[in-house]
């Protein structure tokens, strides 16, 4: 039975009760109030959102949310269904880190004097793939794009050298296995949707990305 297969597949990947990072991708209409509707699905269950990004998607007029939480597979699956149940949400996917390509952007403001004086800082910056966004007499702003560990590592490294300000963006993620949303949208707009739309994990997704 395909149910068993799909669930088994997920169990193999992650211990069922074990928590791990999941990235939830939500395709939704761009509507005032929807962010709140989605956010309270988490807060109602006392689940902390670690990172949340809203942005346009590959389709004009459709918004894409990326939400990162650390939870068990079972919990994430239920959350995904609750989110997809909201009227203005078109589709929800959730993926483990192996299943996505993701980036976060971090900005670091450091004293220009410090880096001018201390060669090691410059070396550090090269080592972490940082680029200078602004260089002024008093301070310089560097940017690093990468995974959490990478941007965190540079914070650690810069600490001794007067890190004036630090900020990191939410995670943005692309699903490795996704064919995008163009085709699906046509289905959604059709009055009688095809079977593609009623797929869920009870059925034959096998190795494919999870979709409900």
């Amino acid at each position: 039975m395909s149910t068993e297969n799909t669930i088994q597949h997920k169990i193999d990947k992650a211990d069922l009760d074990g928590k791990q990072e999941y990235t939830i991708t939500v395709y939704a209409e761009n509507r005032i109030g929807l962010l709140n509707r989605i956010a309270i699905i988490f807060s109602k269950r006392k689940i902390n959102i670690e990172s949340l990004n809203t942005s346009p998607s590959e389709i004009d007029g459709i918004h894409r949310f990326n939400i990162v939480i650390t939870e068990s597979y079972e919990v994430v699956r239920k959350l995904a269904r609750q989110i997809e149940k909201q009227i203005e949400v078109l589709k929800v996917y959730f993926n483990t880190n192996e299943e996505i390509i993701w980036q976060e952007l971090a900005l670091y403001k450091v004293s220009t004097d410090e880096i001018a004086e201390k060669v090691t800082v410059e070396r550090l910056l090269r080592q972490y793939g940082a680029s200078a966004v602004v260089i002024r007499k008093d301070y310089t702003v560097f940017a690093v794009t990468g995974h959490r560990e990478e941007t965190d590592a540079l914070v650690k490294a810069l600490e001794p050298y007067e890190l004036i300000e630090f900020v990191r963006s939410a995670r943005v993620a692309i699903i490795k296995d996704s064919a995008g949303f163009h085709e699906k949208l046509k289905e959604f707009e059709a009055f009688e949707p095809g079977e593609e739309l009623v797929e869920n994990e009870f059925l034959d997704k096998g190795e494919k990305i999870f979709t409900m």
């Binding site: 239920k78 949707p193 009623v198």
Partner: protein, 583 residues
């Protein structure tokens, strides 16, 4: 050529549309839309921010009946009662600020019990939003977790489309409450509006899926092999208007079926395969045998904790088949071996086609055995008490004998609710109206008023405890003014009975603030010009009930029942359904 033709057609349609343009205010176009949606009854209460709508309503008195309730909570419960009795969408009007916040309990109740409602709230002028204006409250954010959908209108041009969406969302798929908040400027705004078009498609909303045969086949295979199959049904049958399809399914397979309290009247009480009530105060057999069946078929129910008791000891031996229209319910509390996602109006006939005809005589006999034990130990003493004090059960028995199962019974919340659900007999669907999921005390009286409007030809009996009645007694005023012929039966045990029962059983009889006094209910009713009577001994009970039921118009009867009677059987909280206690 084709393109040219298309364009021509489009131009024609546009021209036609412009002919039927309606020029008027946002308020008028809202009321026109309600009429287009088939609304005839509105429960509401006016106020500053909704005055333009009420002003327009003044001219619609021949088409829209407005029931002026005495509190917005009463209004929304009435709309719920209306929707539950009639199967139509209930409509509520309320003003901004306190008017809107008074709807919240009803919204939460309708959300958890999947009741279709459209609530219209007035809001301050758009230019005042966010200024803490008089009676401004952030209604959209307050109601987001308790509505299926909500929307704030600040421009009248949006009204027809938003209203059409609201009705479509409220009643399609798994129904639920919808709220539209309309700023005062939009209510006053004069525009030219196109013809009202009902909504039947929203691209981001899939009310029900196309049913996949795989689900049905897998379910049928399990059912056909089962030796001890057991059906649990909920309100999904009623909401899906699939009572006939459900009956055909159980009759072909011969599977015993038990109900959640919201599913109760989906099939007649007397049906030979109806084995009774599930859950905390449900029947003995259905609870115990949940843990003995080999295939559990859950239809249109959501495995509420009051039904399942302790989850890790719930039906572990059984294969679970779960039919539901809401995919978020499948696997939520109980993991399904086969999840049949779909509208049971469609899935049940398909399933019935694939299952074998069967009779599970031995298995049904087991239910009868347990039932006999329950009759001997619990039911007979409750329905035919030998004590001096009257029991709630004997009141229900008398109602059954007088009404023969044809009345609509609306209950409040507490002991009387459990007794009414356990013992009331029903012949017809949509006859049992109660606050199941939220357990809202104060629901009974206003919901019964609404139910009378939703089922005007039926006898509507509101069974309410002395505690619950005192939460919304102001709606006697609504009855007084509009004459809804509701029979109000107060079962008075001078306690908040259900809490007292728990304090007795689990808190060493420490009766903490459950001793509640009551006003003279008869005098109270009479002050609202409602006929009333009180009974405190058995000799007068039957006669008093007959008088109440045969009385033309509304009537209140207070029956004094035993103070410290308990509702049994009972699955104590945190215990397994098979650990159900008979005493």
């Amino acid at each position: 050529m084709e393109t040219a033709q298309d364009t021509l057609q489009q131009t024609e349609t546009k021209a036609e549309a412009s002919k039927t343009l309606f020029k008027g205010t946002g308020s008028q176009v809202l009321l026109n839309g309600l009429i287009e949606e088939g609304v005839t009854t509105i429960f509401g209460y006016p106020g500053g921010a909704i005055m333009p709508i009420y002003d327009a309503l003044y001219d619609y008195a021949d088409k829209l009946e407005h029931i002026l309730v005495r509190h917005e909570q009463g209004g929304i419960h009435a709309a719920q009662g209306f929707a539950r009795a009639s199967g139509e969408v209930g409509v509520v009007f309320a003003t901004s600020g306190p008017g809107a916040t008074n709807l919240v309990t009803g919204l939460a109740d309708a959300q958890i019990d999947s009741t279709p409602l459209v609530c219209i709230t007035g809001q301050v002028f758009a230019h005042l939003l966010g200024t803490d204006a008089f009676q401004e409250t952030d209604v959209i954010n307050i109601t987001t977790p308790v509505t299926k959908w909500n929307y704030q209108v600040t421009d009248a041009k949006e009204i027809p489309e938003v209203l059409a969406k609201a009705f479509y969302i409220a009643k399609s798929g798994r129904p639920g409450p919808v709220l539209i908040d309309i700023t005062k400027n939009a209510q006053l705004q004069v525009e030219e509006f196109p013809e009202y078009v009902k909504c039947n498609h929203i691209r981001s909303y899939r009310p029900k899926p196309k049913v996949r045969v795989e689900y049905i086949e897998q379910a049928a295979a399990l059912i056909n092999e089962a030796k001890k199959p057991f059906v649990l049904f909920g309100q999904g049958i009623v909401l899906g208007k699939a009572e006939t399809e459900f009956k055909a399914f159980i009759e072909k397979t011969g599977i015993p079926a038990a109900w959640t309290i919201l599913g109760e009247s989906a099939i007649p009480t007397a049906h030979p395969l109806n084995v009774g009530m599930l859950g905390m105060h449900g029947n003995y057999g259905p609870n115990v045998l949940t843990n003995e069946c080999d295939v559990l078929i859950a239809i249109g129910m959501r495995f509420d904790d009051r039904v399942t008791g302790r989850l890790d000891k719930y039906a572990k031996q059984a294969k679970i088949i779960h039919l539901d229209i809401d995919p978020a319910e499948i696997d939520k509390n109980v993991k399904a071996d086969v999840g049949v996602w779909g509208d049971c109006k469609e899935t049940l006939p398909q399933l019935t086609k694939l299952v074998h005809e069967n009779k599970h005589e031995d298995w049904l006999a087991k239910f009868r055995e347990y039932n006999q034990q329950e009759i001997d130990q619990v039911i007979t003493p409750e329905l035919y008490p030998t004590s001096e004090e009257m029991t709630m059960g004997e009141v229900l028995r008398n109602i059954n004998e007088i009404c023969g199962g044809d009345a609509v019974i609306v209950t409040d919340v507490g002991q009387h609710q459990m007794v009414a659900c356990r013992y009331a007999k029903f012949n017809n669907t949509r006859s049992n109206i109660t606050s199941g999921g939220l357990g809202t005390m104060g629901f009974g009286l206003p919901a019964a008023i609404g139910a009378k409007y939703g089922a005007p030809d039926k006898t509507v009996i509101a069974i309410i405890g002395d505690g619950g009645f005192q939460m919304t007694p102001q709606e006697l005023g609504t009855i007084m003014q509009f004459g809804a012929a509701v029979k109000i039966l107060i079962l008075n045990n001078r306690f908040l009975g259900m809490v007292r029962q728990w304090q007795q059983l689990f808190h060493d009889k420490r009766y903490s603030f459950v001793n509640i006094t009551s006003p003279d209910f008869v005098a109270l009713a009479k002050s609202y010009y409602i006929e009333a009577d009180k009974v405190d001994d058995r000799a007068n009970l039957r006669k008093a009930l007959e008088t109440m039921i045969s009385h033309e118009g509304s009537y209140l009867l207070e029956v004094m029942v035993g103070r410290e009677n308990n509702v049994f059987p009972m699955v104590p909280q945190g215990m397994s359904v098979s650990e159900i206690r008979l005493k």
